[in-house]
Symmetry: C2
């Protein structure tokens, strides 16, 4: 439902090919809305047929040709229609929770190690996001408009990772105490 819109937002910021979009989704936008190149190509095609975007084929030497997409009027209209529409609250779906809940049916120790691993992963992401914040938004108080919005989205990512890490710490601590 919303990959279309994520792509439209990204393309509005600047035009690009499917491949480039996939790279962008690997960084920034994709931290909050992951997508593979397959999905992106398919959705681009669909939006092209619907007239939401237009593409220009660009021949490159040494490299394969590419199609650079830009948002058309119908796409901008669709985007503002969607922006005004209510959005379902994000749902949390975490397999680690299921594992923890079932821990006593297997090895609690293995689950504990798994949680430590996830803690490390999320701590890494947190640091990546903090790095972006320092580099791209050193003075948050001076931000306005689009830059402010981008900064706030990043803040959401940081907060989510922080809170995940804190939860892992609580769990690790409690499980260690319990096994003594």
């Amino acid at each position: 439902m919303a990959l279309e819109h994520a792509i439209l937002v990204s393309l509005t910021e600047r035009a690009g090919s499917g491949y480039e979009l996939a790279r962008r989704f690997d960084r920034s936008i994709g931290y909050f809305w992951p997508a593979t190149h397959q999905q992106i190509y398919r959705v681009l095609r669909r939006m092209d047929e619907a007239g939401w975007v237009k593409h220009t084929e660009i021949a490159q030497d040494g490299r394969p040709d590419k199609k650079v997409y830009r948002v058309a009027a119908a796409g901008r209209a669709e985007l503002s229609r969607w922006l005004a529409e209510p959005e379902d609250p994000a749902i949390l779906r975490d397999g680690l929770g299921v594992k923890l809940r079932g821990a006593s049916l297997g090895s609690v120790d293995l689950v504990l190690r798994e949680i430590e691993r996830h803690r490390a992963e999320h701590a890494t992401r947190r640091e990546v996001y903090r790095g972006i914040q320092k580099r791209d938004f050193p003075k948050p108080a001076t931000l306005h408009g689009r830059d402010l919005h981008q900064y706030l989205v990043l803040r959401g990512g940081i907060r989510a990772e922080e809170s995940f890490v804190a939860w892992c710490d609580e769990v690790i601590d409690a499980l260690r105490k319990d096994s003594r």
Copy 2:
């Protein structure tokens, strides 16, 4: 990938019909792994065919017959196999982030109102979880084993909602200041 395992965990706690499982998923387990009755019925059937669960048909008067499922040996084996296997870290996928990022392409004011709405939703969930915590786990320090694990999963839900609400507050505050 893991709905099977979520159901197995739930069925291990106690046997039940598809319908009953769907109710459980609406409460507790489903807060961290949502599923509709359709998915549950299909997966139960699949697991039945694979021999992971067994069902007993139970005739009820006044109500439709039901099939009560319980975990078979193969299901227990599969569960402990899965518990020992590494799990992909949960991915965050939040349309609200996309909306905020694109806010300046539509009405910032409408997006702001949308964020206020989500804040209210998440605050409600947070209160529901806190209620469960107070009712079911009044003395966390005394918990062990399975009860402790359940409590910790609930703590994860509470933390996630708390952090979401805090983020909304940060965003609302920043957008209000920016529009002045």
